[in-house]
């Protein structure tokens, strides 16, 4: 297998050029997918036989939750790449992805709470999934706080990488222990996403939304990373040319 592309990623200029070319297409895909998914989910998907129309919150709750979880795994992968191959771009990716992941966790928690009000009759229920998401939010806060409190850029990135790797090993343990805790304390709660086999007109918009959220994540991450690369490389001549070109 040819690994040149991987090592090219270490070059900030190459990354800046290629991401600039991808960005319009990714933005278009994100806008289209989220637009189509939202309209389909809100207006055309049939109401749930049990929960009525409040179930339409699933079309943002589940994509946000999936994105929040995979974003943390991405942090750890970026951390490993940064620690093993000393790739600066992976450091940038780690620190830029953490706030987006925290925002997505926040969205998942908020929509879960709003959804909980009509279904459970309470804004917050100590359901296993919601509790695990809350812990994930705390893990994100830890990574962000550690990154901000270390002034040296390289040590901050390395410290965040170690923390993200420790966290990602812990996530399955946390998940199972919370599940187990929940079954012990609250037998037979109503699970949000457990349904007797969704019909296609319900899950196709969900799939579209999940893809749209991933595209949105890529767009937001690339935007942040490009700015950070510009800041880090401010002495390079190609950045000066870019600054003059953009005015």
């Amino acid at each position: 297998m040819n690994w040149t592309w991987f090592h090219k990623l270490g070059s900030p200029k190459w990354f800046y050029d290629i991401s600039g070319r991808w960005l319009p297409w990714l933005s278009l895909a994100a806008a289209l997918l989220i637009g189509v998914g939202t309209v389909w989910g809100l207006a055309f998907a049939p109401p749930d036989y049990q929960q009525g129309n409040s179930f339409r919150i699933i079309y943002i709750h589940v994509p946000a939750a999936i994105l929040a979880q995979s974003c943390y795994v991405m942090l750890a992968v970026a951390g490993v790449v940064g620690l093993v191959w000393k790739m600066k771009l992976a450091d940038v990716a780690l620190q830029c992805a953490a706030p987006i992941g925290a925002w997505m966790t926040f969205v998942a928690l908020l929509t879960g709470a709003v959804w909980g009000k009509p279904t459970w009759g309470a804004w917050w229920v100590w359901d296993a999934r919601l509790t695990a998401m809350l812990i994930l939010l705390f893990l994100y806060f830890g990574v962000i706080a550690l990154g901000q409190s270390i002034s040296n850029r390289d040590s901050a990135a390395k410290a965040c990488a170690v923390l993200a790797i420790v966290g990602v090993i812990n996530i399955p343990i946390i998940k199972y222990s919370v599940d187990w805790w929940n079954t012990l304390h609250q037998p037979a709660t109503f699970k949000i996403t457990e349904k007797p086999a969704m019909p296609a007109e319900m899950w196709v918009p969900l799939l579209i939304m999940v893809l749209g959220f991933y595209c949105f994540f890529a767009v937001s991450l690339l935007l942040r990373m490009r700015l950070e690369v510009l800041k880090r490389e401010s002495r390079a001549s190609w950045v000066k040319a870019e600054v003059e070109r953009s005015l």
């Binding site: 939202t38 919150i57 946000a64 003059e244």
Partner: protein, 58 residues
């Protein structure tokens, strides 16, 4: 279309408040996550351009 009328669509069968607030806040967060980096980039480019001009002046 699973709704009879537009008013029906807005009401969401008594759950309108919940559905619309969660969609509203979530889409606002998504927009915020795209808008903030773009604004920060514009501000940074302007600052950099000003710095370059200042430094190139004799």
């Amino acid at each position: 279309m699973s709704f009879e009328s537009f008013a029906d669509f807005l009401a969401m069968g008594k759950h309108g408040l919940y559905v619309w607030t969660s969609y509203g806040i979530s889409l606002a967060v998504l927009a915020l996550n795209v808008a903030l980096p773009i604004l920060a980039r514009r501000r940074y480019l302007q600052d950099e351009a000003r710095r370059l001009r200042r430094e190139s002046k004799p």
